[in-house]
C-alpha cells in the first residue's frame, strides 16, 4: 500500500565515471550554497525586531483586577492544584474592613508567586480559576541572570490600575460568558 508519493526507491546502480569524479556534484553544491549567500536572511534580530505573536499566545501571567480596581483573586488555591508544574504558591489572608477597594472577596492572596522557571505555560491555571483572576498574556518572560528573579510575586503579576492588561482577545469565551 502506498500512502504518499514521497517514497523513493533505493538505487544501487553503479555510478558512472562522471558521477564517481564527484567534481560536477561538488560544483553543483557550491552553486547551491552560493545562491543562498545572496538570499535574504531569515533572522529576526529579537530585541529590535519582534515577530508577530498571536493574541492567544500563552505567555506571562497577569492577575486581574475588577472594574473598581480590586483584585479578583480569592486565594482559593485551585490554580495551584491545577498546575501540573507546581509553579504556583500563595499565602491567603483575610480582608480587613476598609480594604474592600483593594480586594474583591473576603479572602485574598497576601503572597502569590509563580516560578517562571517551573511554569510550562500550559494555561491550566487560567482554566481552573473560578474568579477570572489569572490570565496568560502574549507578553514574553525575559531572561535574568539568577534564578530568584524568575519567581514573580504580586508586584510583577497584578495588573497596575492605570495600565490595565487587555485579555479580551485571549479569553473571548470567558469574557462573553461573564457578560
Amino acid at each position: 500500500m502506498q500512502l504518499t508519493n514521497r517514497s523513493k526507491v533505493v538505487s544501487n546502480k553503479k555510478m558512472s565515471f562522471a558521477e564517481k569524479l564527484y567534481l560536477p556534484a561538488i560544483v553543483k553544491g557550491l552553486a547551491i550554497t552560493m545562491s543562498h549567500f545572496f538570499r535574504k536572511p531569515a533572522t529576526i534580530s529579537y530585541p529590535e525586531e519582534k515577530r508577530y505573536i498571536a493574541p492567544v499566545w500563552r505567555g506571562k501571567h497577569v492577575l486581574k483586577r475588577d472594574a473598581n480596581g480590586a483584585e479578583n483573586c480569592t486565594a482559593c488555591g485551585l490554580c495551584a492544584v491545577a498546575c501540573p508544574a507546581e509553579a504556583i504558591t500563595m499565602t491567603a489572608a483575610e480582608r480587613k474592613p476598609g480594604e474592600e477597594h483593594l480586594y474583591r472577596e473576603e479572602k485574598y492572596a497576601a503572597v502569590y508567586e509563580i516560578n517562571m522557571l517551573r511554569c510550562i505555560f500550559c494555561g491550566l491555571c487560567e482554566e481552573a480559576c473560578p474568579k477570572e483572576a489569572i490570565f496568560l498574556t502574549p507578553e514574553l518572560v525575559p531572561t535574568y541572570l539568577n534564578r530568584e528573579e524568575f519567581i514573580y510575586g504580586k508586584d510583577k503579576l497584578v495588573e497596575p490600575i492605570d495600565k490595565r492588561v487587555d485579555i479580551t482577545q485571549r479569553q473571548k469565551h470567558l469574557v462573553e460568558k461573564k457578560q
Binding site: 561538488i26 553544491g29 557550491l30 547551491i32 550554497t33 552560493m34 543562498h36 549567500f37 538570499r39 535574504k40 536572511p41 531569515a42 533572522t43 534580530s45
Partner: protein, 348 residues
C-alpha cells in the same frame, strides 16, 4: 648587507607578522559571517558595527578563561603542543613573496622576507613539522578522543603530503626552480601556472584542504565523533592557539596557492599601464591579497558545502585517487616538456 636593508627587513617582518595575525583573527569573523550568509542567517552583529569587534571579544574571552591542565596529562608536552602548532604556522610566511621590489632612494627592496632558493622545500619541511603540534597535543592530553584525533591528523597529513609533494614535482618540472620568487616571476602578466598545471592545481588544492585540517577533511577535530578531537582537553588561550594556527595555516596555504598557481603579485597588463614600478608593486600586492582572500573565501565556502569524509573514504581518496593522479600528472608534464625530443626520438 646594509643597515637600511636590515631595518627594512625588520619592518617587513613586523608588518607581515601583524598582517598574518590580523587576517587570521578576522578569518574567524569572516568564517562566521560567511557561514551565516550561506545558511540564510546574519552572523555576529552585536559587538561593534556589523560585529567587527567580534574577534577581539573572542580573543579576550580566550585569555580570561580558566587554564586547565588535566591531572594525568604531561604538563610540558601539553603546553608544547599548541606552541609548536603556532610556531610552525607562523614560520611559513617568510618565503612567500608578498610583492615585487620597491625602489626607495635608489635602493631596491624585495617585499619578500627571504628568498630561499629552496623555498618550496622549506614550506614542505615546516608544514610537515606542523603535525607534531597536533600529535603532541593529542597524545599528551591522555584522553582517548584526543589520541584518536591526533592519530587521524597525523595519518591524514602524511597521506596527503605525498600527493601534495607529487603535484608540486610536476610544477617544478615546468618551472625548473624551487624558489617561490622565481616561480612567481616566471608567471608574469597572465602566464599563470594554473593554465599549464590545472590537474596539478586541483590535487594541490585538495591536499591543502587536508593539510589544514579543514572541512571536508576535518577528521582530526570531528565534533560529532571525537568531542573536539585533538584539542578536547584544551582550554583558554592554548585552545585559542590551536584554532588560530588553523586559520594562519589557511591563510598561508591560500597565499601559497595564489603564488604557485595564480601568478602571485602578477596581474594581466601590469606592464602596459605605464605606471611607476613602485606603483605596480603596490598594486601587485593588493592584487595578491585579493587572490589570497578569494582562496580563504573558497576554503570557507567549501566548508559549508561539502560534508565530512568518512575515514576510509579519506584514505581511499588520498592513496588510490590523488597519488596515482599526481603521478599521471608528472608523466604528462614530462611528455609535454620533452615533446620535441620525443618527436625526434620516435620519428627519426
Amino acid at each position: 648587507m646594509g643597515i637600511e636593508l636590515l631595518i627594512f627587513k625588520s619592518i617587513l617582518v613586523m608588518v607581515i607578522f601583524t598582517i598574518t595575525l590580523t587576517i587570521a583573527a578576522y578569518s574567524t569573523y569572516g568564517e562566521r559571517k560567511i557561514a551565516a550568509f550561506l545558511q540564510d542567517r546574519i552572523g555576529p552583529n552585536r559587538s561593534g558595527p556589523f560585529g567587527i569587534f567580534q574577534p577581539v571579544a573572542d580573543g579576550g574571552k580566550m585569555f580570561l578563561k580558566e587554564e586547565i591542565i588535566p591531572a594525568d596529562a604531561s604538563a610540558f608536552l601539553f603546553v608544547l603542543g599548541p606552541s609548536l602548532a603556532m610556531l610552525t604556522a607562523l614560520m611559513t610566511g617568510v618565503v612567500i613573496p608578498w610583492g615585487d621590489t620597491l625602489t626607495l632612494n635608489g635602493v631596491e627592496y624585495s617585499l619578500q622576507i627571504t628568498d630561499l632558493n629552496i623555498g618550496v622545500l622549506y614550506i614542505f619541511g615546516v608544514v610537515s613539522f606542523g603535525v607534531y603540534g597536533i600529535m603532541i597535543g593529542g597524545w599528551s592530553s591522555n584522553n582517548k578522543f584526543s589520541l584518536l584525533g591526533a592519530i587521524r591528523a597525523s595519518a591524514q597529513m602524511i597521506s596527503y603530503e605525498l600527493a601534495m609533494g607529487l603535484s608540486i614535482v610536476a610544477l617544478i618540472m615546468t618551472t625548473g626552480t624551487l624558489s617561490i620568487k622565481e616561480i612567481v616571476d616566471q608567471q608574469a602578466t597572465w602566464h599563470w601556472n594554473i593554465l599549464y598545471q590545472p590537474l596539478g592545481f586541483l590535487i594541490f588544492m585538495i591536499c591543502a584542504f587536508a593539510e589544514c585540517n579543514r572541512a571536508p577533511f576535518d577528521l582530526a577535530e570531528c565534533e560529532t565523533e571525537l568531542v573536539g578531537g585533538y584539542h578536547t582537553e584544551y582550554s583558554s588561550m592554548k585552545l585559542g592557539f590551536y584554532l588560530f594556527a588553523e586559520y594562519i595555516n589557511m591563510f598561508i596555504s591560500s597565499a601559497l596557492m595564489a603564488s604557485l598557481y595564480f601568478g602571485g603579485y602578477n596581474f594581466p597588463f601590469m606592464n602596459s599601464l605605464g605606471l611607476d614600478q613602485n606603483w605596480v608593486t603596490i598594486l601587485g600586492s593588493v592584487v595578491f591579497f585579493g587572490k589570497v582572500f578569494f582562496f580563504i573565501f573558497f576554503f570557507m565556502w567549501i566548508r559549508w558545502t561539502i560534508p565530512r569524509f568518512r575515514y576510509d573514504q579519506l584514505m581511499r581518496l588520498g592513496w588510490q585517487s590523488l597519488i596515482p593522479l599526481a603521478i599521471l600528472n608528472i608523466l604528462l608534464t614530462g611528455i609535454f616538456t620533452m615533446r620535441e625530443e620525443l618527436k625526434n626520438w620516435l620519428f627519426n
